[in-house]
């Protein structure tokens, strides 16, 4: 792993982190304060209650909703940011009209509002948190995929969340050096399988499975490599991108195509694809499991798909969402890992924290969180 940021902390000027109280966002804030130099850090979030830094750190917290365009422009005009890191997004899980509507409003319209506000207030650099899932059709494998792979849109994209992230990314990247606001530079970060402290999705769910004693099953051969990414590394990539955009903005000439960061999307992972069930086992072991290799009951993918289908039919009949379904089976058997050469070359990205350490931190946090929940 790369060592900590250089002694001489690099400057990012005035920085706004949208969604800075959220899972990824607060890690961006933490890393900003720890490893970078900024003249001002401001967090915009719907409710700045959780994941706040102590007041002594001097971070400004503003309650703001990105679906409210006017408020956004007003705040930006007041704060005058050089850099905007846009991490706000609802949790990816969820289907149905309510969450679809939320995805559309926050991801698409919200991002459009952020872009407009940046353009109107002279922001130099906008970094958007996209998702590597926009390249997946949720059925087929992605084997060492890089940025030249197609983005799966429309009818082909079975996850509406990914569809909205894809649209938001294209809005962000289209705003790079646009005719109306040529001074705004934009870039997009596409993380895969993000996890870490504060994550109420991936790791939380896996620890649940362990606590319910359902960690004894393995579906498929476990030959499928999967990219999971520790949250701090994702935060790191965002800040490197912001820095690169500022450097580009200050340069007199446009960068060469092979070193360009503005208007580009970057896949970001830990650079350590592991076998899918190995990751879950590492989580379960960290959560207290003492199971060795070969102790899990291996179910063929086809059997899993059949059971998943039956479960869908059953839950369909009782009119409840089926938590055990075919998509889950497909995900756990899917090969989905990426080639991050582009981020390495152009952003100088190297993961700060290894997968192993990341898992230990994330599971420790999750167990602590669950203890608190039980008390409450």
């Amino acid at each position: 792993m790369a060592t900590e940021k250089p002694q001489q902390k690099l400057s990012l000027g005035r920085v706004v982190v949208i969604g800075g109280c959220g899972f990824l966002g607060h890690h961006v804030v933490n890393l900003l304060l720890r490893s970078w130099s900024c003249s001002h850090v401001c967090v915009l979030d719907m409710q700045c209650t959780k994941n706040r830094r102590p007041d002594s750190d001097g971070v400004e917290y503003v309650d703001a909703n990105i679906t409210d365009s006017d408020q956004l422009v007003k705040e930006f005009a007041r704060i005058k940011p050089d850099v905007v890191i846009h991490t706000a997004s609802p949790p990816a899980q969820g289907s149905g009209n309510v969450s679809h509507d939320l995805f559309r409003r926050v991801n698409i319209e919200g991002t459009r509002n952020v872009v407009t506000a940046c353009q109107q207030t002279g922001v130099k650099a906008l970094v958007f948190t996209s998702s590597a899932s926009i390249m997946s059709d949720n059925v087929n494998d992605l084997i060492n995929a890089n940025e030249t792979y197609p983005i799966i849109r429309g009818k082909m994209q079975s996850e509406y969340y990914s569809e909205t992230k894809a649209e938001a990314e294209s809005i962000t990247l289209a705003a790079n050096r646009s005719e109306t606001a040529p001074n705004l530079l934009t870039a997009s970060i596409r993380p895969s399988g993000i996890f870490g402290e504060g994550d109420m999705q991936a790791i939380y769910h896996m620890v649940n499975i362990y606590e319910q004693g359902k960690h004894n099953v393995q579906i498929g051969e476990n030959h499928n490599l999967f990219d999971f990414t520790y949250v701090e590394n994702v935060a790191h990539a965002h800040l490197l991108a912001a820095r690169a955009l500022l450097v580009t903005a200050a340069a007199e000439t446009q960068p060469l195509d092979h070193e360009r960061v503005d208007g580009e999307a970057f896949l970001v992972t830990n650079g350590q694809p592991v076998y899918f069930w190995d990751f879950t086992r590492a989580v379960w072991h960290a959560a207290g499991s003492d199971k060795g290799p070969g102790s899990a009951w291996v179910m063929a993918r086809e059997t899993g798909l059949m059971l998943g289908f039956l479960s869908e039919v059953y839950f369909g009949l009782v009119r409840k969402p089926a938590t055990f379904n075919r998509q889950r089976i497909i995900y756990s058997c899917m090969t989905r890992y990426y080639d991050i050469t582009k981020a390495r070359r152009r952003l100088g990205y190297e993961p700060l924290v290894g997968l192993d350490v990341g898992v230990k931190r994330a599971v420790a946090w999750t167990l602590e969180q669950k203890k608190k929940e039980r008390k409450a």
Binding site: N146, Q212, G354
Partner: protein
């Protein structure tokens, strides 16, 4: 004569037996040395090559005529050095300067050495070293210079180690461990790569990426060091660095105590992890070889190494016995290593997955080993991609059109099955009714039992079909 044990073994492992026969019968070397055209001295050299090396002699003798003699002589020179270094009957005061002067001996006509202990297995080589010198002098100058340069570097490295060993300084840190592997294996690799490039049998770009060559040597040497830990322990030698083993046991001997097996295994896992990091660069290196016989020469030991890692990984036997891959496996590996890079990559992938399968979540390096395996697979993908992004787009489109229909198809299928079952049930009930079954009693008396069965079944289904 094969032993009874091996007859038994192979009668239960016919695939391995098949590989052995296949290799022995069908293997056709790309080149074969022609003893009729050789000088007397050269024939003697090959005699010593066959005597001193079991594994390398065969592959060396299948090298193309340009590389054959330089590499055979290179091997003998290094073997000669090794014979001096290994010999504990030679006092350090004599050994050290001898090692450092070896490059001078190898150009002194008629130089021989009979000071090795009587038990030193390769002492004959040095007794007749004058014949090797005769042949060395016939080499092309550029080849000779490479051999000489490596000899100087290695001899000095060995002398330093001999001195350090005299002062009871074992390998302490991981960098020291890797430095040791560099002297005994990395340098050999350097010499070979330079010979290959000088003869235009390999891509000159390999000289600019010497870390690839280094990985070739490190991977082989580290594998052997892990495998031979018990043998070395009996010989009172230790190559595992203190930095690693001291995390698991307090004293080196403790590693071999049966009571400490789990700790010892965790320790060996860390050693394996350290070795595995070189595997992808080894594959990269092999992509730079331009000729079949040279490719075979470099690929065979690498395939054997990854197979050996699979054998020793999570295997407690390394702490009380000397294990080796079977002859059958070795033949299969040789068949696979004498074709092309793609086949070697498939071999690596197969063994990588076997290693991954044995990986134990309780091991402190579980996830890192998984990632090391992933790294090898990912690298193979960069050499031979399975996916083409353009085709992926098309494929996705086609597949997705089918996706909508899939649910309906499944529904029809399940519906059909349920329908047939229902039909048969009704038929059976009808027959029962015709035969006089009293269904009315069932609904009156045993009502309760039936409903409770239904609830438990439903509960079982919900339970089983809850979250994954």
């Amino acid at each position: 004569m094969p032993s009874i044990k091996s007859i038994l073994y192979y009668s239960f492992h016919p695939v391995q037996l098949r590989s052995m026969i296949q290799w022995k019968v069908w293997h056709e070397p790309v080149h074969r040395r022609d003893p009729s055209k050789e000088s007397k001295e050269l024939t003697t050299c090959f005699h010593y090559l066959n005597m001193t090396s079991r594994s390398f002699a065969a592959v060396i003798q299948e090298l193309n005529p340009d590389m054959l003699v330089p590499i055979a002589l290179f091997y003998l020179v290094l073997r000669g050095l090794d014979t001096i270094e290994d010999d504990m009957t030679i006092p350090i005061e004599k050994k050290e300067p001898m090692l450092r002067d070896f490059d001078k001996y190898m150009k002194t006509d008629g130089w021989t050495f009979d000071g090795n202990g009587p038990n030193e297995k390769d002492r004959d080589l040095l007794v007749h070293f004058d014949e090797v010198i005769v042949e060395l002098k016939k080499l092309k100058k550029n080849y000779y210079d490479i051999i000489e340069d490596i000899t100087i570097k290695m001899a000095n490295g060995m002398a330093d180690y001999a001195l350090a060993a005299e002062n009871n300084k074992g390998v302490e840190t991981v960098p020291q461990y890797e430095e040791y592997c560099h002297y005994v294996a990395g340098l050999v690799g350097e010499g070979l790569t330079r010979l290959f490039v000088a003869g235009n049998w390999a891509n000159p770009a390999l000289l600019e990426r010497m870390e690839l060559t280094e990985s070739m040597g490190q991977f082989l040497q580290k594998t052997n060091i892990i495998r031979d830990v018990h043998e070395d322990f009996l010989d009172k030698r230790r190559f595992w660095p203190t930095e690693i083993w001291s995390k698991y046991v307090d004293k080196w001997e403790d590693l071999f105590e049966p009571a400490n097996r789990t700790k010892a295994l965790h320790c060996s896992s860390e050693m394996v992890l350290n070795a595995l990091k070189h595997a992808d660069e080894c594959l990269f290196y092999m992509a730079g070889i331009r000729e079949q016989s040279v490719f075979n020469f470099v690929a065979i030991p690498q395939s054997m190494a990854i197979a050996t890692i699979d054998l020793i990984f999570q295997n407690p036997a390394i702490f009380y016995s000397h294990i080796k891959i079977t002859k059958g496996d070795a033949c299969q590996l040789m068949i696979e290593s004498t074709q092309n890079l793609r086949v070697v990559c498939d071999t690596f992938k197969r063994y990588t997955r076997r290693i991954a399968k044995k990986n134990d979540p309780r091991d402190p390096h579980f996830l890192e080993i998984s990632a090391a395996c992933g790294k090898i697979e990912q690298f193979i993908e960069t050499l031979f991609p399975t996916q083409d992004p353009k085709k992926a787009a098309l494929l996705a489109e086609q597949q997705n059109e089918q996706a909508g229909a899939e649910f309906k198809e499944n529904l029809i299928l399940v519906g059909g099955i349920v329908g047939v079952l229902l039909f048969i049930s009704i038929l059976m009930i009808g027959v029962a009714w015709l035969c006089g079954a009293r269904f009315d009693l069932m609904f009156n008396g045993d009502n309760q039992t039936i409903s409770s069965v239904a609830t438990t079944t439903a509960a079982a289904i919900t339970g089983a079909h809850d979250e994954l």
